[in-house]
Amino acid sequence: MLKITLDKISELLSEINKTHCVYAPVERSGEVCFDKWSEGEKVRLDVLKTSKSAKGVFFPQTEDIARFRSKGKELEISQAKTEGGPFVIFGVRACDVKSFEILDSVFLSDPVDSFYKARRENALIVAIACSKPEETCFCKTFSIDPAGPSGDVEGYTANGALYFEPRTEKGKNFCASIARLLEEGDEGAVRAEKEKIRGIMADLPFSSLTTKGWGKDEGNRKFNSEKWKELSDACIGCGACTFTCPTCQCYDVRDFDNGREVIRYRCWDSCMYNDFTMMAHGTPRKTRVERFRQRFMHKLCYHPENHGGVFSCVGCGRCIEKCPMSINIVKVMRAIGGEEI
């Protein structure tokens, strides 16, 4: 077990930054989100739910695919290259670490997404346990342990220090590269911290929430529930839930004409939008109720059906905090999950 006192975090990031790009929960005009850290920027390791999740590091909100430019009668096409070298993503919570696995099951299955794959291979994940879980957290429902966040290096904050435990070969090499700044830490402190976290988890308002009634074999029954209408009544059809969600992975491919060239790019898309999966014949989900249902069915039935029973929600609780009208997945799970249809 290795450790560094919390007042030396900036020094540590500077050290890592000499060889690697660092992504961390940085504070920008009062808001904290995962972004590229630059020297002097404030990192907030006390913030659990960054306003944007860490998924953007691997699956950015927009990404160029190709550029088209006409020169006389010639059409010049340049394909975007997979960018960058190895980087460190620092301070990821257990829920967001789990979200990477869910994104992997989509982007790394055939056909493999080369942009995503390159970033995943280049990344080293320094995860941090959640010292102070919040009332909107329900990762436990999906068997995620905030006291064991996984990653290449697992971190714990206790007694004013950050403790490190490498978990992979990559993690070991990383710890060796920053050994100059680390000192030997006491395992007892980490054990106590883990116990403390698990105790708090049992006390959370959603600690009794289960996935009962949801899963791969529930699709047809849940699809026909009469409660979707009432649950979706207040939904204003914005994409706040989808875009702050660490596992929502739908995207659109569009062309942008800037007058000089056409940029083909992809951007996050939301099943809440009325042009989602728009085809020549129109959209398959014409009403708000159908679009609303799609999001929850995807997370709680379709994804488990297509990916070995794994739910595509990690219980981070961002949608609970961010929905303008206070609708969220917990409400849906409880309202429809338990009912017999």
């Binding site: 005009s29 009062g30 909107t136 914005c238």
Partner: protein, 322 residues
């Protein structure tokens, strides 16, 4: 507060019972002590689930565009500031007045839970409002804070206790008052004083956080187009993120232009923004300019009034004159 809720419920139940209305649109309890979801309560019995407290910040007037046209009358619970939005929607013929029974509900300011979290009060298990103070039970001990310190941004420039439109109302309890408003243009003035470069950087910084979720547009009562230009695939602009960040920032500027003169300053844009971008400042710049160019004007104050940007009189300021 319980007395107020009881009175609201009584009035709603009586209106449904005597056939004047069939349902209510208000707020219901959510999963946590502070989340309140707008909901329709259909019939006398459902009214029992209705709730009203310091967490009902959502402005439900926009739901009336659809709810006023589904047959029968819907009772809309509207805080004083929400009634300005209803008036504006009536002016624009978006809400059918004959389908709405506007029940004004007094308001002493609504709480922004994010501001409570900003104070380091996290893991909220319970919140109780007692005499202007919030008593908060958390996973990490009991805390208190003044309600006035954690009000929604919109409440800091409260329009007062007057209902711009209402068929009946439930007043605040004795001793309770609307929050005293501060100068709502002070932040705009500060931005006006910046150099063009500083101002550009300020907005680029704020708008760089935008995720194009469209929550601002979808919650805005003034954004009531049947199909928004950004949702029109043939328009060349998109409701999703663009590869050109500047293009993306333009979305907010275009939206602010489009609601200029019609925005009642209800503050929903900033309340709903998941990235906490102070979008209301764009609208307030327009309001400030309109006030200075054409005289004080409050959109939604009167029903069916002609706003300065859609009206003309000879004393109007020359548009070219700055």
């Amino acid at each position: 507060m319980q007395k107020m809720i009881d009175e609201i419920k009584e009035k709603c139940a009586a209106l449904i019972k005597n056939g004047e209305a069939s349902r209510v649109i208000g707020w219901e309890k959510g999963e946590l002590p502070y989340d309140r979801t707008p909901a329709v309560f259909d019939g006398e019995k459902a009214v029992g689930r209705l709730l009203y407290d310091a967490f009902c910040g959502a402005n439900i007037s926009k739901y009336l565009i659809a709810a006023s046209k589904t047959g029968g009358k819907v009772i809309a619970l509207l805080k004083p500031c929400d009634t300005y939005s209803l008036n504006q929607l009536l002016t624009e013929n978006r809400v059918d007045r004959s389908g709405v029974y506007a029940l004004g509900v007094g308001c002493s300011g609504m709480v922004d839970v994010e501001k409570i979290r900003d104070k380091g009060i996290k893991g909220i298990k319970d919140i109780e409002e007692i005499d202007g103070k919030l008593s908060i039970k958390t996973l990490y001990g009991d805390r208190t804070c003044d309600k006035s310190e954690v009000l929604l941004e919109k409440c800091l420039s409260c329009k007062g206790e007057k209902f711009a439109v209402s068929d009946d109302s439930v007043a605040l309890l004795e001793g309770e008052t609307a929050p005293s408003p501060s100068d709502r243009f002070s932040a705009v003035s500060r931005i006006e004083k910046m150099s063009p470069k500083e101002r550009f950087e300020f907005w680029r910084g704020e708008l760089s956080r935008c995720i194009r979720c469209n929550a601002c547009r979808n919650a805005c009562p003034a954004c009531s187009c049947m199909t928004c230009v950004f949702d029109n695939a043939r328009s060349g602009v998109s409701s999703k993120a663009s590869p050109d960040a500047f293009e993306e920032n333009m979305f907010h500027i275009i939206r602010a232009f489009h609601v200029a003169g019609r925005c009642t300053d209800c503050g929903e844009c900033s309340r709903v923004c998941p990235q906490r971008i102070p979008l209301h400042l764009l609208n307030r710049k327009f309001i400030k300019d309109i006030n200075e160019f054409y005289g004080e004007y409050q959109a939604g104050e009167q029903p069916y009034q002609r706003g300065p940007l859609v009206d003309y009189n000879v004393s109007d300021r020359d548009p070219g004159q700055v």
